[in-house]
């Protein structure tokens, strides 16, 4: 019953078909495409985790890449330097990212909008600078390569299915969070923080919880990146990636749940395609972003759902 309320039967069928296609994909595609689709899912998950606070919370999280990077580094460092079983890395990476998110949130959450974002970005730069320079521990600007991955998911197919399963589970959990009472209150804060405060909502506390959840799932995406690539590097924490993740949310549509997933996948796929023809990928991305801001500010999925919604409303009106 609850499921029916959350998801319409038509979108349920669509999701099931998409999942079936993704599950069968490795048996049909070459190694490179399996890798690419896995990376699309990882990046999509990352963008979706940002959208929890950006789209649903209305918070300018300008340093989200930090949690992605820290999740990945924590998992890699635990395995390589700590010598623990890699599975522990997968478990603890997101926890470390969430803890960092809590710490940063405690410092920043009293600020609003642009000030919040700028303080986040300066704290994020601090973390990046430490990772970038601490050669003896993090490998500095070279990063770390050949991070051991559990044998079960060591092959490209294994990694792909691991990424697929974790992504689907995370998306489901995030979907439930967004539609939970907490998620509803969170969205009400986005729409009107003063009113939410007035009806007795603890705004700061909700925002802090939202940040921790987003940081956690950002960390999950980071550990998945380690699975796919087997390496980590400081660019994963750099602020330009943080802004790129915002572009992904914008591209897919940040007022829809699956928009950022689509946006993340699109950016990864576009980069792969454009990269074949030209070295000037960032220029292409910049132009895409400009066009988006001018013509499609609600994103691709947002655009289509708005049109569908309008169509449905017209039909119901008849």
């Amino acid at each position: 019953m609850q499921k029916q309320k959350l998801l319409g039967s038509r979108s349920l069928i669509l999701v099931a078909l998409l999942l079936a296609a993704l599950a069968l994909f490795p048996s049909m595609a070459s190694r490179y495409y399996i890798y690419l689709v896995a990376l699309m899912m990882v990046t999509g998950l990352l963008a979706t985790s940002l959208n929890l606070v950006l789209g649903y919370g209305g918070m300018y999280q300008f340093n989200h890449a930090v949690f992605y990077g820290v999740g990945a580094y924590a998992a890699a460092l635990l395995t390589v330097r700590g010598g623990v079983n890699p599975w522990w890395g997968y478990l603890l990476g997101p926890v470390v990212a969430a803890a960092l998110s809590l710490l940063m949130g405690l410092i920043c959450v009293r600020l609003s909008k642009l000030y919040f974002g700028m303080l986040q970005i300066s704290l994020g730069s601090l973390v990046w600078a430490v990772v970038f320079r601490w050669y003896s521990f993090t490998g500095g600007d070279d990063g770390m390569h050949g991070v051991p991955v559990p044998r079960l998911i060591g092959s490209i197919d294994g990694a792909y299915y691991f990424v697929l399963i974790v992504t689907v589970v995370c998306l489901a959990v995030m979907y439930l969070i967004v539609n939970s009472p907490f998620g509803r209150v969170f969205q009400s804060i986005r729409d009107n923080p003063e009113r939410a405060e007035a009806i007795g909502v603890n705004v700061r506390q909700h925002q802090l919880v939202g940040l921790v959840i987003a940081g956690f799932f950002g960390g999950v995406a980071g550990t998945l990146f380690v699975t796919v690539e087997g390496s980590v590097f400081p660019d994963m924490l750099f602020w330009t990636l943080s802004l790129e993740i915002i572009i992904m949310c914008l591209l897919g549509g940040w007022f829809t749940f699956l928009g950022p997933m689509l946006g993340g996948g699109m950016v990864v796929a576009l980069r792969a395609v454009v990269g074949i023809y030209t070295d000037y990928w960032t220029m292409v991305l910049g132009i895409i972003l400009m066009l988006l801001i001018f013509f499609l500010p609600e994103g691709v999925l947002g655009f289509f759902t708005a049109r569908l919604g309008r169509g449905r409303a017209v039909r119901e009106g008849d």
């Binding site: 601090l126 320079r133 802004l243 910049g286 801001i293």
Partner: protein, 297 residues
């Protein structure tokens, strides 16, 4: 023992002066950013790209003309060229977006940064360039037994000159006063019959010109490379924030904090010198989240 502590003191003094000449560059770049933030309320992420373009144009003009005059001509040409580029972007694209929310404006300037970065790669290639200081600025002189580059002294003189010039422009001229009024209440300024859109264009242009000037001045002190834009823009943003958004003296104070902690960091713990300014910024922001001096927001 005694002489050792003397050397350290001299080294400290020397590092301080190096930090202060770095402050000059940081101040010039971030004062432009602060101006745009204060009046237009736009976090201009492409500011670093304009700084990089300023440096590359300086390199090209200076090597094309060559000799003593080359650098001085370049120092005049580069900021103006960057200013015109900014004017074209502002009038062509940017002025249609002022009604959008901050995040969209920020993302737009980010897209501009992405495009300009590749434009520089297209024109100048991915190799780094280096430019010698003009002959009269080359070499160094002795300062308490420690060598101090002449060019850095030039920077130390330029910093206050630019600060005073900018102060005079915003406080003593009519257009400056209008710009400051527009920062506080743009509707009221518009109601006085002033074309606010052109005031914005002027301020944007001036702010970007400062970025170009910073790039021109930094050209002889470091390698001119791709990626200069990423490094400077984050520093400039943090400086503007800790100083107080839109406050020019705040930009000066922030730049001093950034430049000096960086140079002291190099002396104390070279490997983590890069971390020192970020720690300083974080400490400032934890205690004064809206910056040290009064913001115009």
């Amino acid at each position: 023992m005694d002489s050792a502590s003397h050397i350290t003191l001299a080294a400290l003094g020397q590092q301080l002066l190096v930090g202060l000449s770095r402050t000059t560059i940081l101040f010039i770049v971030s004062s432009g950013l602060s101006l745009i933030l204060g009046v237009l309320r736009i976090p201009n992420v492409s500011h670093g790209s304009l700084y990089m373009i300023g440096a590359f144009v300086t390199y090209s003009v200076a090597t094309f003309i060559g000799g003593q005059t080359g650098f001085w001509v370049a120092l005049a040409v580069a900021p103006v060229a960057v200013g015109f580029l900014a004017l074209a972007v502002e009038r062509g694209i940017f002025c249609h977006l002022y009604e959008r929310e901050h995040l969209m404006l920020l993302l737009f300037t980010f897209s501009l940064m992405l495009v300009l970065g590749d434009v520089v790669k297209l024109i100048w290639g991915s190799d780094y360039r280096s430019l010698a200081a003009p002959p009269m600025m080359q070499g160094s002189f002795s300062l308490g037994g420690m060598p101090f580059p002449r060019y850095n002294l030039f920077l130390l003189i330029m910093g206050p000159l630019v600060a005073v010039g900018l102060w005079a422009l915003t406080n003593k001229t009519k257009i400056g006063k209008i710009a400051r009024a527009a920062a506080v209440d743009r509707e009221m300024v518009a109601a006085m019959g002033i074309n606010v859109s052109w005031v914005f264009a002027f301020v944007f242009c001036l702010g970007c010109l400062m970025a170009g000037l910073g790039g021109a001045l930094v050209a002889p002190t470091q390698n001119i490379t791709q990626g200069m834009d990423h490094a400077i823009i984050m520093e400039a943003f943090l400086i503007v924030i800790i100083g107080g958004l839109g406050n020019m003296w705040g930009a000066l104070l922030g730049a001093a904090i950034f430049g000096i902690t960086d140079s002291i960091g190099i002396l104390v713990w070279p490997q983590f010198a890069i971390v020192f300014p970020y720690v300083a910024v974080t400490i400032v922001l934890v205690f004064r989240p809206k910056g040290l001096l009064k913001s115009t927001w």
